[in-house]
Symmetry: C2
Subunit: 150 residues, 2 copies
DNA sequence: TTTAAATCAATTGTGCACAATTAAATTTTG
DNA sequence: CAAAATTTAATTGTGCACAATTGATTTAAA
């Protein structure tokens, strides 16, 4: 029974609040990330490297849903800051292996309290946080599984 | 009892899936938006204009959580495509009024089936969609209300 | 095994986002 | 009223995102 253009109203979109919310939260990160001289995307790369130490650009892209067009210049910048090193794989010269440096690992100490600081920025209760987490990964999953044959 | 760096793991972040999901959904829009020659951000502007016909850059920015640095060049581009017109307010010369044109209104017809096409891209059940919607707007609200005294 | 297809990172070009600054117009204050 | 503060859009500069292409390398097929 909805009027013809009801579905085109902003308030009936699900992607818009997702997009707006994502950007607003990243803005909240900024003052904390400024202290350790990282952008949000660089922070994501460091989080992966802190866990994995070394992986290829391809693997990093799979982790973060980013392609080489985004990662190549980002990683070069981070290499010049001394956070990571880049070298071709000996097993497969097509692949480039990104490895965290000692300085990169040390940055983890200075980042350790960021998640806690960020948590206090929101009024999200544990149930809602869990629901949000589950739904978002379900959505992500349905997009990645639709690419399996590409 | 979590290890020291547990909170820095990608899998324990809530912003990351939000950020990734937002971009993945916008990618799903692309083929549909290409047909009517709009980017996702331009589509958001048009959705506001289809409902409101005319409003200032400031009001548009409040609707979309975007500032003039993003909107000014975007709106100039859309003006050159004939979708909207830009003129200063007579009541207040600081404000610029953005108005949808006839061609802009006509585009609504061609966009009308996009929401339906997009809905079929996801496996989101109605309860989850409603929960996601509620939680995201609650989050957005908590960021905007923290700016009240700026 | 030579050729063809696939994979991977890099490059190119376009389009946002956004912080910070500027400049014009308006409102508020003293 | 006149000066100061505020508001608004535009500008400038930086940093992603991403589609499309390129080029080198590897794998698969004929």
């Amino acid at each position: 029974m909805s009027p013809k253009y009801e579905n085109l109203k902003i308030k009936n979109q699900i992607c818009f609040p997702l997009y707006a919310c994502s950007r607003e939260i990243i803005k909240q990160y900024k003052p904390f990330l400024d202290e350790i001289d990282l952008t949000y995307t660089q922070y994501l790369v460091m989080m992966v490297l802190w866990e994995r130490q070394a992986l290829t650009v391809k693997e990093l892209g799979n982790c973060l849903y980013l392609d080489s067009g985004t990662l190549t210049p980002l990683l070069k910048k981070m290499e010049s800051k001394g956070l990571l090193s880049r070298k071709r794989s000996e097993k497969d010269e097509r692949s480039l292996i990104v490895s965290v440096t000692e300085a990169g690992m040390q940055l983890r100490e200075r980042a350790a309290d960021i998640p806690e600081k960020m948590a206090s920025c929101t009024n999200l209760d544990p149930q809602d946080a869990a629901a949000l987490y589950r739904i978002l990964y379900q959505l992500l999953d349905c997009f990645t599984s639709s690419e399996e044959n590409e």
